[in-house]
Amino acid sequence: MFKPQMTRILRSIRFNIFLGSLIAFFAAVGTILPQLGQEPQKANAFMQAHPLWTKFFSFFGMFDLYHSWWFMGILALMAVDVVLCKLWNKPPDVGIVSLPPELTNEEDLEKHLDKKEAALKLKPFQAFFGSKMGLEDAWLAARGHLKREGYHVKEEFFLPGQAGAFTATKHRIQRWGSYFAHIGLVVILIGALIRSVFGFVEMVPVLEGGSRRMQHMFDPRSFAQRVEQLFWGHPWNMKEPIDVYVDKFTIEYYHGTMEPKLFASNARVMAGDQLLGQKIIRVNHPLDINGVRFYQASWGAGGMFRSVTLKLGKETLKLPQRTPVKIPGTPFTVEADMMLPNFTITDGQADTASLDLKNPAVRLMFSVGPHQTSPLWLLQNYPDLCFTEDANGQLTHAPSPPFQLAAVDPILFSGIQVAYDPGFPIVVLGAIMWLLGMIALFYMHRRRIWVLLESSGAGSCRVNLGAWSSRGVREYEAEFRSLAKSLRTELKSEDNFRLTENPIVEVS
């Protein structure tokens, strides 16, 4: 299938770094080029302004870059490569290299005793000293001491009257940190994949007092739902379309500002006549129905209103939308047909800068019998400003009117985001694995000590220590020094001991 050369490239860390760089590069491109998923208006404006570039970019799916087949492909390849890398490449870790002599049995120890100096020199830290204890006592005391220091003693070999050797390790889990973290990363990617296959996100804008039908259907016969049934069960098994009702929408502002401090929908979710769930949903407090969550994502004024209030001297006049009302004491009738929540002028025409009520304006039509005047725009926040609109929608400044826009009672829409993400628990599991792996890998430090004791006559022996740690050289040097000193006291040594570091430096 794959040539060996190919698999070698695929499992190389260099290739993984290249893939990571590629992901970083295209991810950055996606933040600069407007994306349909994130900023649809900006993306459409770009497409209209640059038709030639648009053809090129669209061909490669650059306007929905993060969901394009090739970007997903790079992510998937990265996940596969991480697994391959971890399976094939041993961690570059001197700690797992056994101390020669390769101590697999007593004979080996005997055979290689003469090579000990050379072998210990391979360790970054070494110490040598004589002990006034017999070999067996010293061997037991050294093992006991290291155990008390939190070391795990293993690979013990003892030749009575000749020599003894063992290794002691601490925080061995550090070695698995890298594996754990990388598996966590792959699990996160699997969670994201499950979401993109089985999950969905749908924006459902609902006018206050109204309802809207969700586009997403929960068809138990669909392939995705059948697969889901097999593994974890789909939240809903119904063919009826789902309607989201917003019975009441509440918005509160911080005192004296138009900055909202709270917005909430009294929402109901229905499937035909069946009530599936009901809750006052706020930002950060969604309604959860069997894993499908209804979030309060946004709100806005779409231009609908219950009424606007005009102030004519001391009198006020309430106008419902698109309902002509007679102005008392005059032959005029007035009708309010349109409202813009955040009035601005674009290319000479009335427009809104956003959907929040920062600068509400209303279009009024005055008429006497069959004769109608040009439409007139009044602004609530700027009572002295007034514009007339011609047949082409162009605005012209008009003199201050004798009436003002006192209030607007808008019908707001509640932006409810419906999301279903069966991959989320898996993402969280992956994140926990990543976190634990990172803690083990970077914040725990493995230590490994090789101890070789040689008999130097009755009642005395020679102690050789070699050590390695994943800690920084400086930090471990201090730790090893103190450990060697305490061991020396424990083994009743009277020598000035040699503590060495590659290259060997004598320490008195």
Binding site: A28, Q38, Y254, N284, Q296, V418, A419, V473
Partner: protein, 284 residues
Amino acid sequence: MNYEVLFLKGAWAFYSLATAAAFVYLYNKDEKWSRWMFRLVAAGLALHLASFGFGMHYFWKIPDNRYYFPINSFFGALSFLSLATVAVFFVIESRHQLGILGAFVLPWAAIGTGSALIFANPAVEGLVPALQNYWINIHPVILMTSYAAFGNAFGVGVALLIQEHQIKSRKPSELCYRLPSIEELDNLNYRIIVWAFPVLTVGIIMGGIWAYSAWGRFWGWDPKETWALITALVYAGYLHMRFVKGLRGKKAVYVSMVGFACVLFTFLGVNFLSPLHGYLSGGG
């Protein structure tokens, strides 16, 4: 009187003096300058903490802001980032006593604090609904702590490049003897990044969990989160190059500096791209 701003001005003054002392120490062998730098930093840090405390006091006068950290505004974020930078520096300096590092890290803290005072608006505002969540005390705090650590690593990297230049030049100046060895600087740079990298990734994941609980999506490729991911990828590249390929010295520092450029862009530049995480919009 706004004590938050007053104390921050005091902290700024101390950081500036500490920076000056650190620069004097670069060229003057007298250890007293290093000790003075450390004392001035400690005093600045104390004032900065007091400023943050007053900031919280003012912020919590609005009932809806209780008990969240005042880091939603650009002023609050910049002040906190500078505070974290100095705190990380303080920890490194207490442990390693390099003395010399101050000249490469403290200017950032002084510039950060100064920028908050000059360019940002300290006015207290109510939190937008998306931010009224305990996650605001976790997600940005963790991320900014990692940014602060990366800032320190950047300072160490600059010192390494200067030392490398000194050693290779025919006439090394006094500075060459003042700076630690390249190996020591490289090791410190690495150790700070090794500490900060998991913190960065955990911060990103926490943001994902918050986004899920607020909007129902763990990841949305919003520019801020995308750039945080890019930053993490660059530092992951650095760690792999160092771990596996044994990259050291100048080249390793260049890679870590690209990472820090990404940190700066994530913190500042993205505000021009993203309305969601932008400080001006006060979004999540």
